[in-house]
């Protein structure tokens, strides 16, 4: 079986429309981020205490909230988790020396004596550690970007590197926006997912760049726009097949992998879709724009 062989889609002809779509997606995310005052950070980066508790029977989030309000923790954040027996309780403070877990558990069990709670996961991140992890994550992303930019500049021309990095910034920006729009938190594994998106998005882009480089030699004399469009069509089948297999497995992690890893899988899922789109409609078209403008400038100079 084969599909999408010998296609002649005019990807570059639609590049303006695609730019508008990208801008709309990014702006929507940016507005959402702005309204919420930045990305919603998990306790990894903000510090705090998180408890995942499971009850013997179904329980109302309001009951949990009431029980916590009785011990002065009315500002705790309660989140449904998986079924209706489980919940995540997040408290901003992470004071050392206070057995917060014990206090919470006791409050819950006293308020609902016939529906005992069990702690399944407990995370405490002190404010110093949160700040450190934030700095580490930022550094990791910056270092990765610089290294990748350097690698592509060595392997390809600089304008290709710019196109590739623009594409992956685009992907991460849209994924970040989607996180904000769906109210998901940024945690350590999500940062790992972001870095994977960076790698994956480039993977796709580079395959197409490789083809462009090859075709520039093979199809010497044709216009650059034409060469890029042909290259996009020639690698289309591979791009879609790989995206499809990757998307299949990521979808499986998202649907069947359990709640703990859902946000991580969500980031990968959005990243794969957006990454595929951006290698077709952002990375290469940007290189074309660059080339077209450079050529026009050259022509103008010649005419003078």
């Amino acid at each position: 079986m084969e599909f999408l062989v010998g296609t002649q889609f005019n990807f570059l002809g639609h590049r303006r429309a695609a730019f508008i779509l990208s801008v709309v997606l990014i702006v929507a995310g940016a507005i959402s981020l702005f309204v919420q005052g930045g990305p919603k950070l998990g306790i990894d980066f903000d510090g705090g205490t998180l408890l995942q508790v499971q009850f013997e029977r179904a329980i109302d989030a309001q009951d949990i909230r009431d029980a916590l309000a009785d011990v002065g923790m009315g500002d705790a954040e309660i989140q449904r988790f998986g079924g209706n027996r489980e919940a995540i309780i997040r408290v901003a403070q992470a004071e050392e020396g206070i057995d917060l877990t014990g206090v919470i558990l006791q409050a819950l069990n006293e308020a609902n004596p016939d529906n005992q709670a069990e702690v399944r996961r407990e995370e405490l991140v002190g404010p110093t550690v949160g700040r450190e992890l934030r700095a580490k994550a930022t550094n990791a992303i910056l270092i990765a970007l610089v290294l990748i930019l350097a690698y592509i500049s060595i392997r390809f021309e600089f304008k290709f590197a710019v196109g590739a990095v623009a594409a992956l910034v685009h992907d991460v920006a849209i994924t970040l926006g989607m996180f904000s729009l769906t109210g998901r938190e940024i945690s350590l594994p999500v940062i790992a997912a972001f870095l994977t998106i960076v790698g994956y998005s480039l993977n796709d882009t580079i395959v197409i760049y490789d083809r462009i480089r090859e075709n520039r030699r093979k199809l010497y004399g044709r216009s650059f726009t034409d060469i890029v469009n042909t290259s996009l069509n020639e690698s289309l089948s591979r791009t879609l097949v790989t995206s499809l297999t990757t998307l299949l497995v990521v979808l499986c992690i998202f649907l069947f992998g359990g709640e703990v890893i859902k946000d991580f899988a969500f980031a990968l899922m959005v990243g794969v879709v957006v990454g595929t789109y951006s290698s077709l409609y952002v990375a290469s078209p940007l290189v074309v724009e660059w080339q077209v403008h450079a050529d026009a400038r050259k022509r103008r100079r010649h005419r003078k």
Binding site: L147, V249, A265
Partner: protein, 548 residues
Amino acid sequence: MTSSMRWRTLLVIVVVLLSAWKASYTFRFFSLSDDERAQMPAEELAAIENQSLRLGLDLQGGMHLVLEVDKEGLPEDEAHDAMDRALEVISNRIDQFGVSEPSIQQEGDNRIIVQLPGLQDEQRAKRLIGRTALLEFIPVEPPSGIDITFRSIDAALLRVMEEAGELPPEPEGDVQLSETEQIARERPFSSRSVYYSNLAMFPVEDVEWVDEQLARLDLNDVLPSKEGEPGVPRVRLGWGAEDWTLPDGQEYRALYVLEDEPIMTGSAVVSADVRPGLDADRPNSPGVSLRLTRQGGRIFAEHTADHVGDYVAMVLDGKVQSAPIIETRIPAGRPASITGSFTDEEARDLAIMLRAGKLPAPMRVIEERTVGPSLGRDSITLGIRAMLIGGVLVLLFMLVYYKAAGAVAVGALVANLLVIVALMAGLPVNPRPALTLPGLAGIILTIGMAVDANVLIFERVREELRNQKTIRAAIRDGYERAFMTIMDANVTTLIAAGVLLRFGTGPVKGFAVTLSLGILASMFTAIVATRVVFDLVTIRWNVKHLSI
């Protein structure tokens, strides 16, 4: 068949067989039921476990703690080896607590990372690990000493209250204050206390108030000072660990006035054991019996001989645990004991801490991650189910889309998984990399990404075939052309994974490990191994039609 081909075939067979052999331990270990594990000889089980994949705390269940040692205020020579001693003390405590395969490591110059897999009671572990456990034997001041101390606190407090304008207004005209009211005015502090068995006690509901008032004073100047050394107090204050019910039916807590210099500290303790019946008043509650060093025993004997009728306090981390009256001289060699209303567990933990010694400096938990065993098990079940479903979908797709060639790619994928498991279990690094939940996701992701190399190759081969090339030439050129592309594409993902490996902690590191191993392994299985299969089929068996 050329000789290079023969070598490559051999290499592929050897690598796949070795990986399968190594991975078989992992499959065997994890397919054992609890019953089977219980019946198996311990050494045999350990041997299999050592050869198999190690699970991270998030899959196995367990506790990850980061402790910060507060070295501030330590003299330089002590600060120097404080970390080494802290590590040793924590190791001792955990050893006695009984956790299998704990890991205790230093990070940076003031942090300690403790990992306790399969832990049942995390609250208790935290209490046991984090407490300083400084034990001091300190003489308690007699009532005369308490009087002096409380008087000067009264005077200092009056001054502070006056400055703050908190004093009640002078009674107007000739209103006569009762005697109690008069005392309360003149002695705001001591008037709230009562004497009982030669100890000063405050009602339990006043404890917080007392702490607040003491915090307002500069105690170094207020407390009676050493002779000729103003500003250096010769006493300190310490609350009792438990409350007394006095004849008036109210609950009181003793505020001990202790001499500043301890007679001796926990370093004079050789061993500590839990014993019932150490306290005649509470024959059923457990206490901790302390055997002292020879020197400690002698000091204690001398002190008790001189101070019959006085109290001696056993102070743990600033709190008076128990303060028995010295009824008679305690001869050297006789054990001392700490009693109180302990539960069995508290007494046992106290004994553990006293045996393991005190921490050189206070310690704080600055990060904690605990996963209960049930959640870990759920995560494994769900992760493996996601992997199976994803794997089957990819397999079906590859078979339908690339037919026989797709089957070869799927074979390469299975080999890839074997190599990942074998490497994770067999890499000669310490500690062995652990499989975490994100790590499991990394393997699943690899399933999707590893077929990419084959997709690239197959698409190329198809193109070459469309250009009317022979099967041999199409395979050769397809592999050659795709190779550089695969390299370029994988290097960028490896860069991202490499950065994660350096900066990531715990679970995230696990993800970086499986992702990079998966990519590296796929370079071998998806490129070298599949090529061998195609070469064998087309050259050796002379197949003329390629099902791709």
